[in-house]
């Protein structure tokens, strides 16, 4: 029964794929039992031996091709492209179809085994990769034009800052985020303690339109006081917005926060005042401390990371606020800027709010009546914790980011010790010329193979000195080998730097 053996072979051979297979099977149905099986076993063995010799799989189909008379198709020698052995292919097949198809125009597509065409250098061509990226960019530009914001408003970013060790770290992060914003941007940087060249040189690298102003107070040393001063600085910036009649959306980009680029797309949708969800990253030197704090409470927090922002009901209407619950951390939070304890945010941070700048303008007719005037807040003894104090009623706030479900920025406060020193503009100039050798390690010194000329070019802790080759080599070898000792190394360098800077001051 030809049909059933075919069916049988089909079902038997199928594990996870669909089709019945090679010519071999279809032509052997109904064959005589033992001589045929012995013949195929012998053939199989011969093929295996040939494969061993040749180094790639030698197909039995060659024999079939040579010896068969009943097949419909004649093949050229099949070849394969096993891993490692790729044979560039250009051959076509000869195909003879012996059926009564003379009436039909012969198709140029042939049935049967084809070669796998591989070009000689199957790797990407850089010119084409660049062209492809150009195409993708054009497509995305079109998408933005079609589905993005129709009339983009200027983004006005307000950043309070002051000179300290980690200022470069934080401010560069914010700066790069703002440089990526695809809309017009005005960056208002308010600096505590007056305008300094340090901050000015950092900001100048951005290429953005910046307004750099100084604030008459210095930044105090405790987190509480710092929050207060920052709020005053932000109000100062808002007064500038009012004075210059800047038009756009005001957002508060604190210099140690991290922003998602989608935030800038989302705030374009704000009408008057909006709120977004802010993720709070609680920094603690000891991570176990934080988790133990969380577990101490006993309650299961649905989110391991606290989030501040608008709370909505089922119909996406603002009904309340998710605020930061600082009671869980009472007593264990940082008081001074260099405390090794988690720094807590306020209940609702400024950075979670965005305002239409027209709310701040004076003498504008279509201002809504629920906004208080900025001047009314002058001389206020208590701290303005967030822009909600500018409103007479908080129900008018628009929840953004799909009603607060998307966390679009993260709040973090991490600072170095207040007495930590850093080189001005992070340039060590002139290079250090005294090194104090650190304590000996148990590893032998590196062999003296490094030429002295290259030491200046090497960027290791900013500089390399030309004298004292031996100690330099020890230092580099130590840095390469002693990963675990790195902490000590940095402390050592810190000492060196400070000694140097102290010396230059003298």
């Amino acid at each position: 029964m030809k049909l059933s053996t075919l069916q049988q072979s089909y079902i038997n051979r199928r594990t996870n794929s669909f089709r019945g297979s090679t010519q071999l099977d279809s032509s052997t149905d109904g064959a005589v039992k033992s001589p045929a099986t012995i013949f195929w076993l012998v053939l199989h063995g011969v093929c295996c031996l040939i494969s061993l010799v040749l180094g790639f799989r030698f197909s039995r189909l060659v024999f079939f091709f040579l010896f068969s008379t009943s097949s419909n198709n004649i093949y050229t020698v099949p070849f394969n492209s096993d891993a490692g052995i790729t044979i560039p292919v250009e051959t076509q097949l000869n195909h003879i179809n012996s059926l009564n198809r003379t009436a039909v125009v012969a198709s140029r597509v042939v049935v049967g085994r084809h070669g796998i065409r591989i070009r000689p250098w199957p790797h990407p061509d850089p010119v084409e990769v660049m062209k492809a990226h150009g195409i993708i960019e054009r497509v995305q530009k079109e998408q933005k034009a079609l589905f993005g914001v129709k009339n983009p408003k200027t983004v006005i970013a307000v950043t309070p800052t002051y000179v300290r060790t980690f200022q470069a770290l934080h401010l560069t992060g914010v700066m790069h985020s703002l440089m990526l914003v695809p809309y017009d941007l005005i960056w208002i940087v308010v600096e505590a303690g007056g305008v300094t060249n340090e901050t000015a040189s950092l900001i100048a690298k951005s290429g953005l339109r910046t307004i750099h102003v100084g604030f008459h107070q210095r930044m105090p040393n405790s987190w509480d006081a710092r929050h207060k001063v920052e709020s005053l600085m932000r109000l100062h910036a808002l007064r500038i917005v009012r004075k210059e009649r800047l038009d756009g959306v005001v957002m508060f980009a604190d210099d140690s926060n991290m922003h998602n680029m989608e935030l800038f797309d989302e705030i374009q949708n704000v009408k008057w005042i909006g709120a977004v969800s802010v993720g709070i990253l609680l920094h603690s030197v000891d991570a176990a401390e934080i988790s133990s704090l969380v577990q101490k409470e006993g309650e299961e927090d649905t989110m391991p990371m606290p989030v501040q922002g608008p709370a909505c009901n089922g119909t996406d209407k603002l009904v309340g606020w998710h605020t930061f619950n600082s009671l869980r951390y009472s007593g264990t939070s940082a008081v001074y800027i260099d405390d090794r304890a988690p720094v807590l945010p306020r209940k609702l941070e400024w950075s979670g709010f965005v305002l239409n700048s027209r709310l701040l303008w004076k003498d504008v007719d279509d201002k809504p009546e629920w906004i208080k005037d900025l001047d009314a807040l002058d001389g206020d003894g208590e701290e303005i914790e967030n822009p909600l104090s500018l409103l007479k009623s908080t129900t008018v706030v628009e929840p953004l980011g799909s009603c607060g479900r998307h966390v679009l920025l993260w709040w973090l406060r991490v600072e170095a010790r207040t007495d930590s020193k850093f080189p001005a503009r992070w340039i060590i100039d002139p290079p250090l010329d005294i090194t104090v050798p650190s304590k000996h390690t148990q590893w032998p010194d590196a062999p003296p193979e490094l030429p002295s000329n290259d030491e200046k070019e090497k960027v290791f802790a900013g500089t390399e000195e030309q004298s004292n080759k031996h100690t330099t080599k020890t230092k580099t070898s130590r840095s390469r080998r002693s990963r675990s000792k790195r902490k000590h190394d940095t402390k050592v360098i810190g000492v060196q730097v400070s000694t140097h800077s102290e010396q230059t001051e003298i």
Binding site: L99, R101, V105, I118, Q140, E142, L146
Partner: protein, 416 residues
């Protein structure tokens, strides 16, 4: 004075009406009208242009088969079942066979499934033959024209050749009894035995609800250049490669596996549909048969289909200008695929995306339940309507016979 006011408002109203027609913006995206070679035919309404009579076959030909294996409703050959259901309740159906232009025979030939869910075509010729014997003996309409005004839905791999293996299908050829009938099938390849002149090519069935639940916002930027998920080598049946897909899929893998622009792999991710919406080009290479549901998915998700199948005939080719919508690459040009795709000018790409965004294009590829205007069911009826009126030669004179009822392999002649 009142007359002038009335006239003025009448003119305003008319201007308003005309301006609505002129505005093309739909869903905030400007789309282009698809002008097929036969005109803007995708939106034609077949109701009133043709009448279809549905034969009442015993349920062993349709309902009982479906009851035995309800998986037939979800696989890519489900069009035959949904076509039957659509016609039963459609406005083109007529209960009077004398006034019918077309006759439909509801026989589910692609519903005999293996445990893995793949259809076995071995009994299909006998089933079809038995159904035709039934309709020719119980109604006079088959013998009147020998099936020339009848149509059958045969969505299997090689259509009415009823075999999954191409050599065998070519050997069998189209079932002799269907020689004069119109075939509605997914298979289409020019100059191939299994594609008859006058056949209507339809897209394979893809579940519309499932696809619509995976839609992502339009503004998500398309960041993948070329996307493909599927087999390159059919390890079970063609381990050396060269048979499966005529070596084209293997060539794609070997040439572009190192290319960062090509996001191709055999893994099946849960975000398959979402990823297609983030891609600019989606590869639709042939497999064992030239057609594939990837074309439908690419059209629905707005990804430009790159069709690698020589001489393929795409669905509704007389109504949809596929050359303007997709990119056709010869199988021999696969090693140069990256050069071909990167050398397409951006304006052409944007135009293709606009054509794909046209909702009537997406609707024409789908088989929604219940049927909606402009969907694939209606395109089939439009295709049938375009073949009307029948030629005089369709109606046989008495005594004139052309069908050979005993042609074909011996196994086919056994009763089912």
């Amino acid at each position: 004075m009142g007359f002038w006011k009335l006239g003025f408002f009448g003119i305003l109203f008319g201007a308003f009406l005309f301006s609505i027609d002129a505005v093309e913006l739909r869903r905030n995206q400007p789309t282009e009208r698809i002008s097929g070679s036969a005109g803007d035919v995708l939106e034609d309404d077949p109701v009133g242009r043709l009448k279809v009579f549905v034969y009442e076959l015993p349920s062993k030909y349709n309902k009982k088969i479906l009851q035995k294996d309800p998986r037939c409703l979800a696989h890519m050959f489900a069009a035959e079942i949904f076509m039957h259901r659509f016609l039963l309740s459609s406005a083109v159906r007529t209960l009077n066979p004398e006034e019918a232009d077309w006759f439909y025979t509801p026989v589910y030939t692609t519903c005999d499934l293996t445990p893995n869910g793949l259809p076995l075509p071995f009994k299909s010729p006998r089933m079809m033959r038995s159904a035709i014997q039934l309709i020719s003996s119980n109604w006079p309409y088959w013998n009147r024209t020998e099936g020339a005004d009848h149509f059958f839905v045969v969505p299997h791999d090689f259509g009415a050749c009823f075999h999954y293996q191409e050599e065998k299908a070519i050997e069998r050829g189209i079932l002799p009894l269907l020689q004069r009938a119109t075939l509605v099938q997914t298979f289409g390849q020019r100059n191939h035995v299994c594609l008859k002149d006058g056949s209507i090519t339809i897209p394979p069935y893809a579940p519309p609800q499932k696809m619509h639940t995976h839609l992502i916002p339009d503004k998500t930027p398309r960041s993948i250049f070329v996307y493909f998920r599927g087999l390159f080598y059919d390890v079970g049946n063609d381990p050396e490669g060269g048979y499966y897909a005529r070596g084209a899929r293997a060539a794609v893998w070997e040439n572009f596996k190192n290319n960062p622009l090509f996001d191709i792999s055999t893994e099946h991710p849960t975000t398959y549909y979402e990823d297609m919406q983030r891609a600019v080009f989606c590869l639709c290479p042939l497999g064992w048969a030239p057609w594939s549901p990837r074309l439908v998915e690419a059209v629905v998700f707005g990804c430009i289909p790159v069709i690698i199948a020589d001489d393929i005939v795409l669905p509704f080719a007389d109504a949809i200008p596929w050359e303007e919508i997709g990119v056709f690459v010869d199988e021999q040009d696969v090693p140069k695929l990256d050069t071909i795709l990167t050398s397409i000018p951006p304006e052409v790409i944007l135009r293709k995306q606009r054509l794909l965004a046209n909702p009537s294009m997406k609707q024409a590829m789908l088989f929604p339940q219940p049927a909606q205007a402009g969907d694939a069911f209606h395109q089939v009826l439009n295709g049938l309507a375009r073949k009307l009126p029948h030629e005089r030669s369709v109606f046989l004179k008495p005594g004139e016979k052309s069908l050979n009822w005993t042609a074909g392999p011996v196994g086919d002649l056994k009763p089912w």
